[in-house]
Symmetry: C2
Subunit: 237 residues, 2 copies
Amino acid sequence: MSTNSSTLSDSTIAILGGTGPQGQGLALRFARAGVPVALGSRDGERAKAIAAELNAKLSAFPESCFITGVDNHAAVEAAPRVVMLAVPYAGHDDTLQSIKAALAGKVLVDLVVPLAQGNPRAVAMPKEGSATEAAQALLGSEVKVVGALHNVSAHTLNALHESINCDILACGDDVESTDEVVDLVERLGVSAYNCGPALNARCIEAITPMLIRLNISKKVPFSHAGIRIWAPGTHAA
Amino acid sequence: MSTNSSTLSDSTIAILGGTGPQGQGLALRFARAGVPVALGSRDGERAKAIAAELNAKLSAFPESCFITGVDNHAAVEAAPRVVMLAVPYAGHDDTLQSIKAALAGKVLVDLVVPLAQGNPRAVAMPKEGSATEAAQALLGSEVKVVGALHNVSAHTLNALHESINCDILACGDDVESTDEVVDLVERLGVSAYNCGPALNARCIEAITPMLIRLNISKKVPFSHAGIRIWAPGTHAA
């Protein structure tokens, strides 16, 4: 761990719903990349216990920063700029409502995919069109919402011995905040792209259930697939 | 050309709007892969002229099948099973209406992306949700509609010296027809995937304007990008 790893530095990011598989994997990846993480959960004690487990895993990577487990509110307070939301869709709006005031002036990175109830191979989009658009509507203009990191599997994030196998598509109505998130995500060693306005989350979020469908299909010889932007003349290894 | 290349065999496919860049590229690729093509246009004489140009290009590939240029109606008649629609979105519904009766019992492969008027970086989806769903609603249950081939650039299709740089995502409400189109498309040397019901065309079609946005962005060092499904543990060359 770096020398200042046990304090929350200016670059700390919050990951809410951080005790789920996606949140844990992201916390590991960002901490290993040198980004201090405030891992948030409704249950701060549970977040603290999970964070201890994750920090133990990171002991093999001495350059890692520290993961601090706290409740969601403390996590938002600890993050001066970037708060990531990785809760299940059922908790999306309630979680945002509960932290709305503390988010003013910050960037909310929304990872949530509105999977259909009981069918992870389909989306059931909210009336705003996507989770990202719903978050922006709920939070108002004082919070810049960026949709990103929807299509990378929790399995891949947690497999620290492997590189992340996909690109990251980001979108948001504030160009600068979206570019900032693209730069942050690229610290994980992936290619990330600003794919335009929040409206495009209707497409980006919907890629996830298509990947889930393929991953569980017997016709496809892989699981945990991601998506990549692929340029002409480039060939797979 | 194969010995029976100048007659329309049982495996002939029709490509409507075949004189556009996408249609021409597809005709070249399928004919080179051994699939006879009936290239359709509203103007049969123009289709005939374009087909002659394309057949000249294919003379370098002696195993190619023949491309026959005819009007859209004759193209549909010539194709016993698969008709591809590659017209601009403005002509989508009118073209389908004009050939509806002749399509009964066939598979309509819809390539059309409802790009927004004057803004190729955005979609303007029809009220049915996507072009594929609109086609299925217009044609009724006697025609099986499969959305596919939306995300491969015309440039790539026409660059016969290069392999196609992306995967093909297909969707449709009839599983067998969608699988049949997947198999047909894989004759082009690409990976194609049955991505589920026609509803998923809302996502697949919307990928195209995101790719266009990236391709024209100064921040991205490529153009004519496609999309790939990427499995863990696979690394780019």
